[in-house]
């Protein structure tokens, strides 16, 4: 099974929520989780909706997002 996996680097994110607003599939949500600098890092619980269009990667001003394929370990062999 192949699906997608999103990583946000908590040390780089400044909580601008550009990803939350402009992801066409609304994968990101504003969150109440604070990082060490007091920034609200968005959540991405709805990863399954992601089409891997990479728009969020281009639009994140802080180079904090990575979107890639996740290969489910159970199916790997």
């Amino acid at each position: 099974m192949v699906d997608f996996m999103i990583t946000i680097d908590k040390n780089l994110c400044k909580g601008c929520n550009i990803c939350t607003e402009f992801c066409p599939r609304k994968v990101y949500q504003k969150s109440g989780v604070l990082n060490k600098k007091g920034v609200h890092v968005p959540g991405h619980e709805d990863e399954d909706k992601c089409t891997q269009c990479q728009l969020c990667v281009m639009m994140c001003p802080d180079q904090a997002i990575k979107v890639d394929e996740k290969v489910d370990e159970k199916d790997e062999n």
Binding site: K14, C16, E21, C60, P61
Partner: protein, 288 residues
């Protein structure tokens, strides 16, 4: 962070200097992404890239990039870049400049760079304000917009930078906004490939000063404004001046071929220097 989990542009950046100094949601970071994307599409050798900038928030971009770079004096990056290009034409010289840097104090260097058609790629981050110094209006601030030096709204007519640089002789000119990163990357690709003076005007957001003073409180408000007000050049041609009021015309303004300055200079030297010594402009880095 584990390198496999890293964003695809981090490899071009000086990781130890991140996060960069830009305010949350500032357009500068998006323009960095689109530059790297355009550079990859143009298949430019990153080793040959030299970034030059003036002074301003936007001019701090080269300092974060893992390439040769020069942070120069306010308004003068195109002059320094001209020297770098002529000293070694193999360099892929890219200028990052703001609207204040390029169009106010540096306006003369901008038009003369374009007039010469020297092979530089100038990326002008037009956020309609002086960000670094606290929100003074710039030569591109829209009429009526607020800034710390225009508490009652700007009275002057702004420059249309793309049209200005096109008229001055640039051979590639395009304007997009940070809300159109795909089109912008594509324009940057073409600008890098163009053998001549290429000018990319990026309408960008300074949420901290332009946004706050002009009732757009968040970077998202600003990007939605850019998205809504953008109109392609082709559509704009059919509209009257009144209908275009407040619109951001985006697209390609110039794309033509013309003799390039460094080439002309090298040809001149080749024809006039007949003493059998190797050419200074080509030999300095290439050996005999």
């Amino acid at each position: 962070m584990d390198e496999n989990r890293e964003n695809r542009f981090i490899k071009y950046l000086r990781k130890d200097r991140l996060p960069h100094i830009f305010c949350a949601g500032c357009g500068n970071g998006i323009i960095m992404n689109t530059f790297f994307n355009g550079m990859e599409m143009a298949e430019v050798d990153f080793e040959k890239v030299v970034m030059v900038s003036g002074i301003g928030c936007s001019s701090r971009i080269p300092g974060y990039v893992k390439c040769d770079s020069l942070h120069t004096t306010h308004g003068r990056p195109i002059s320094f870049a001209t020297g770098i290009k002529l000293a070694n034409p193999e360099n892929e010289v890219v200028v990052f400049t703001g609207d204040g840097d390029a169009a106010a104090i540096g306006g003369n260097h901008l038009i003369h760079g374009a007039r010469r058609n020297i092979d530089l790629t100038v990326i002008c981050i037009n956020n309609s304000i002086y960000g670094m110094t606290g929100g003074q209006i710039s030569p591109t601030s829209p009429k009526g917009s607020y800034g710390s030096t225009a508490p009652y709204g700007a009275l002057e007519t702004p420059f249309d930078l793309s049209e200005l640089v096109k008229s001055a002789g640039a051979t590639y000119v395009a304007r997009w906004t940070t809300a159109q990163p795909v089109q912008l990357s594509n324009a940057i690709k073409k600008a890098l490939q163009n053998q001549g003076f290429s000018f990319i005007e990026v309408i960008s957001q300074c949420p901290t000063y332009f946004g706050r003073k002009n009732k757009m409180r968040t970077p998202i408000d600003m990007m939605n404004w850019m998205k809504e007000e953008s109109i392609t050049k082709r559509r704009a041609e059919k509209l009257s001046e009144e209908e275009l009021e407040g619109k951001i015309i985006v697209g390609e303004f110039q794309n033509k071929k013309e003799a390039e300055f460094t080439d002309k200079m090298c040809q001149l030297l080749e024809s006039k220097c007949t003493n059998d010594k190797p050419m200074a402009t080509r030999s300095a880095y290439q050996g005999e």
